[in-house]
Symmetry: C2
Subunit: 187 residues, 2 copies
DNA sequence: CCGGTGATGACAGTTGCTGTCATCACTACT
DNA sequence: AGTAGTGATGACAGCAACTGTCATCACCGG
């Protein structure tokens, strides 16, 4: 072979490594590429921009979310459907993945540009979930409301799951946060 | 005077104009600056980056949100507090502002980079509201949950307010959306 | 009249990102 | 075997976003 396979994965690993040590802005796309024996041009063939190297592959996560959604019973309320989606999504983050997620998140938390991208991905997730709910017959604005609430619950649960010393599974935390959301509406 | 006053406002107006006609990416920061008789360097002295020219000044909006929050009765539930904040925020968008908001939003809706920035600002709003709720004695994750829900409700209401043919005031729409959120938790 | 201040211009430089063409292993078809 | 693709890459030029630095010049207070 002329080139090693798995260029994309090598670039992602190298990027995370460099971002964690030197910082995001202090790391050049050319450096990332060269650190795995590729050129900058090739980096941009795999990722649409510098930030995307940390977010590529989130489609699987979205599919998990949507998968749980389709598995929900037909007569379930919107929030119950979201609960199913949450369970399914949480399954994509087993405890083994916690250290990696922590490292990744610490990089994102240090850089506003990366936070923007993360929030954008979350917003995209909410849009997809809302569309799926509408297909199930949920009307507006309830569909969007339920979808965004689901994304919010997941976000809060994930942040807690990442915290140092946290031992519960993501699914457990998410279900508790969802319970808190229910309480919010009827004090 | 050597230079005309109000450089920042002139830049913002010119930028919106150009973005609306040529598109965001097809407009150069140098073009914006030159169109009001300034240089590119001066543009970046007023705005931290190209996108920010559309978002500068949102602090007032955030202050409105937080102001309504402080005006809420001391024994109000988190969601009632958020309702107050929503009312106060809606007051910053009187009906006269609808055409301008529509134009601005149409520019943002056409560009992912601008959507990212908008979502980032919303997230910042939610963080500030959550902090204010915590100061009021609301615990986690309820504070963040209520804050993000408030931001979501505002976002949905604003999108509806902007819609062609919509006649209701933003405050009216927001209160209806908030009512839908309450319904979500008890089917 | 004079020194400080503040908004600006001029200019060079870095970096993210794109367009374009060449290269070279591998594959499939003849 | 030969030959024509195909796909991932390198090489290189170029644009636009953004930054650092120094000079300029109206204005303001003493």
């Amino acid at each position: 072979m002329r080139w090693e396979p798995g260029a994309r994965e090598r670039l992602q690993a190298a990027a995370l490594e460099l971002f964690a040590t030197r910082g995001f802005e202090q790391t050049t796309t050319a450096e990332i590429a060269q650190s795995v024996g590729l050129t900058e041009r090739t980096f941009f063939r795999h990722f649409s921009d510098k930030r995307e190297v940390l977010f590529y592959g989130q489609d699987q996560f979205l599919q998990a979310f949507l998968g749980g959604l389709h598995a929900a019973p037909p007569n379930a309320s919107p929030l119950e459907v979201v609960a199913c989606a949450l369970d399914s999504a949480a399954a994509f983050f087993p405890d083994e993945r916690r250290p990696y997620s922590r490292m990744r998140q610490s990089v994102i938390d240090k850089n506003p540009a990366l936070q923007e991208r993360e929030q954008h991905k979350f917003a995209g997730l909410a849009v997809a979930v809302a569309e799926a709910l509408r297909v199930r017959g949920v009307g507006e604005p309830t569909a969007t409301l339920a979808a965004e609430s689901g994304a919010t619950v997941f976000g809060i649960a994930f942040a807690q799951w990442i915290r140092e010393g946290e031992e519960r599974s993501l699914a457990d935390i998410a279900s508790q946060v969802l319970h808190e959301l229910r309480n919010l509406a009827r004090p």
